[in-house]
């Protein structure tokens, strides 16, 4: 009774090792643009009443997923969380499938059985999150352990927010990975808030990277808004972990520049904090960077944006036209057949 997985295409970034090392900023920019434009469209669909439930976007945090997704190889495993659409896109999820998913279409990766940020593709090594914060962290840890037994040099990427670091599951998973030397990069996206709760109410350490020493592992604090720099850092880290497997805490400083969900006006966020991060908008930084690095001209950037917008428009239109799941299938596939 197991339903067919969408045929998995390896993410562009994963196709060759050497291509990766030289990955141009334009690939990261493209991933970030697709993310931003897709999310913008999803918010619109939500406000139009065409998406049920809710919409949770990553505006301001696109660089982290883009950089870390690109830094992984074909055997690596990912467990993205709430604000990680750029991980999905970076690991090969078609924008079309994201629209299908959020619209609850039967054609989507979860066939309409889940929605919102809860998607993924196990055939591509991307685990669909469950909502319970922290709960995915041991899953990706165990998955990496399994792959390595099978002789595949997998590294794991497990994402979580500042708020999720307070859960027991976070602690259990990091300690477990440390004890077994499992190469998992715990990517903590410190976006300054957990819903309405500021980080001062979430933890008392100076930087969450300080937690690493308590697990006997390395903790790195990085700028989460500079995609190219982050990519380089993580790319190097992945090589190190393949050579000497062990977990790492990678704390990326960033900012959630919108509400917790599309329903939230985030009036609790201090304006000066928002302004400080707006000045370092990861998309602006990425645009400026590709131009400064000579990878693209300003005109090419504009063209890229148009291409991405067209892709998003087309995907949205197509997904809107596709069918919802058949209620008659409601009870199918709860169990896998023997």
């Amino acid at each position: 009774m197991s339903r067919k997985q969408t045929k998995a295409t390896p993410p562009a970034a994963a196709r060759s090792r050497s291509a990766q090392a030289a990955l141009p900023g334009s690939t990261l920019l493209r991933c970030m643009l697709l993310t931003q434009l897709t999310e913008e469209r999803l918010v619109r669909l939500y406000h139009q009443g065409r998406i049920s439930g809710g919409v949770y976007i990553s505006r301001g945090q696109e660089a982290i997923g883009a950089a870390t997704a690109a830094a992984g190889g074909p055997d690596d495993l990912y467990a993205p969380l709430i604000r990680d659409m750029s991980v999905h896109i970076g690991r090969g999820e078609p924008v079309l499938d994201i629209f299908r998913h959020c619209l609850g279409r039967v054609t989507g990766p979860m066939k309409g059985r889940d929605g919102n940020v809860h998607y993924g593709c196990l055939a591509r090594g991307v685990y669909p999150m469950i909502s319970h914060l922290g709960a995915m962290l041991p899953v990706v840890t165990g998955a990496v352990m399994a792959r390595r037994r099978q002789g595949r040099p997998a590294v794991g990427f497990a994402y979580l927010g500042d708020g999720a670091t307070s859960t027991g599951d976070f602690h259990e998973a990091v300690n477990f990975a440390a004890v077994f030397d499992v190469p998992v990069i715990f990517v903590i996206e410190n976006n300054q808030f957990a819903y309405s709760t500021p980080i001062t109410r979430q933890f008392r350490c100076r930087n969450l990277a300080d937690r690493a020493v308590g697990y006997g592992i390395e903790g790195l604090a990085a700028d989460g808004n500079e995609a190219v720099d982050l990519y380089r850092l993580v790319r190097g880290l992945v090589d190190q972990l393949r050579a000497r497997p062990r977990p790492v805490l990678l704390v990326c400083d960033t900012m959630r520049m919108r509400g917790h969900g599309a329903h939230d006006d985030f009036s609790y966020v201090p304006r000066d904090l928002l302004e400080r991060f707006t000045a370092r908008d990861p998309l602006d930084l990425a645009r400026a960077r590709v131009i400064a690095d000579g990878a693209l001209t300003a005109a090419e950037v504009a063209r890229l944006e148009q291409v991405c917008q067209a892709e998003v428009d087309a995907a949205c239109q197509q997904a809107l036209a596709e069918p919802p799941p058949d209620p008659a299938t409601l009870t199918e596939g709860v169990y896998a057949a023997g």
Partner: protein, 327 residues
Amino acid sequence: MPLAETTLVEAINQGLRRLLRERPEVVLFGEDIGAFGGAFKATLGLQQEFGEARVFDTPICESAIFGAAIGMATQGLRPIVELQFVDFGMTAVHQLLNNAGTMHYRTGVAVPMTVRAPCGGGICGGPFHSEELEAFFCHMPGVKVVYPAFPADARALLVSAALDPNPVIFLENKYLYRHVKEWLPADWEPIPLGVAQVCRPGSDAVVLTYGAMVHEALRAAEQVEQEGAGTVMVLDLRTLKPLDADAVLAAVAATNRVLIVHEGWRTGGFGAELAALVAERAFHLLDAPVVRLTAPDVPVPFAPELERAYRPGADTIHAALLELLDY
């Protein structure tokens, strides 16, 4: 007199406000319940009115929240904690089952704490924001479980829950939060726990239910009656543990046909306990087998088309009633 009808979530807010005002030992905490007023705005304005010492935000750590509440409750406070969604309470049920639920039996010391938990489907929350977990809570010795269906009941039962000396799980149906409204009097009394309520009289069958399904059952019963197929009693249990077994048995005696409805999973759902009670103690009163109408044993699906098929509703209750009346 209020100028508008009061929603379920506003009624809960009123209950909390009264508790905070009248009982200095009441404290509220949970995720985002302070200045923000909670994910569903049930605590709106309470921190502003009563201060941060009485109403405060916590980190995301359900076990520490439950555990701290147990500690406070054993030291003279009456903590009321909010789960952002009941689903997340499953990360910490060991605190309820083992710590809160056994404390009085082991030590003779009471644990007057209340856990408020938004639950249920109907808002396309998907598998992890729509669960109905009352069956788990009802299986825990030492724990009480309340599940109101109407704003007036919610406000008045919440006060009784908070003033009860035992751990109480107070379930709040998310769909009902803003879908059910009533005119509420300014003066009101607490409603004792453990007392069911006949919401609609009837003599040909009874629907035993609670939460959002009360409203679906009322609609279905109305339709059945309009169609001349019979009169159907709707019994809103209001408290699931302790269960008002007398009211259930009286309803069975008065109608002789029983339909049990809930939106939680079928196998081992609370409906099984109701069916067992009826089978054991009202066997001779039955003119037909008891019938359970529940969600199937399936994770709560996201897509509206699937979720509609998943949850019982007035239409499926109506059909089940016709079949039962026809037995």
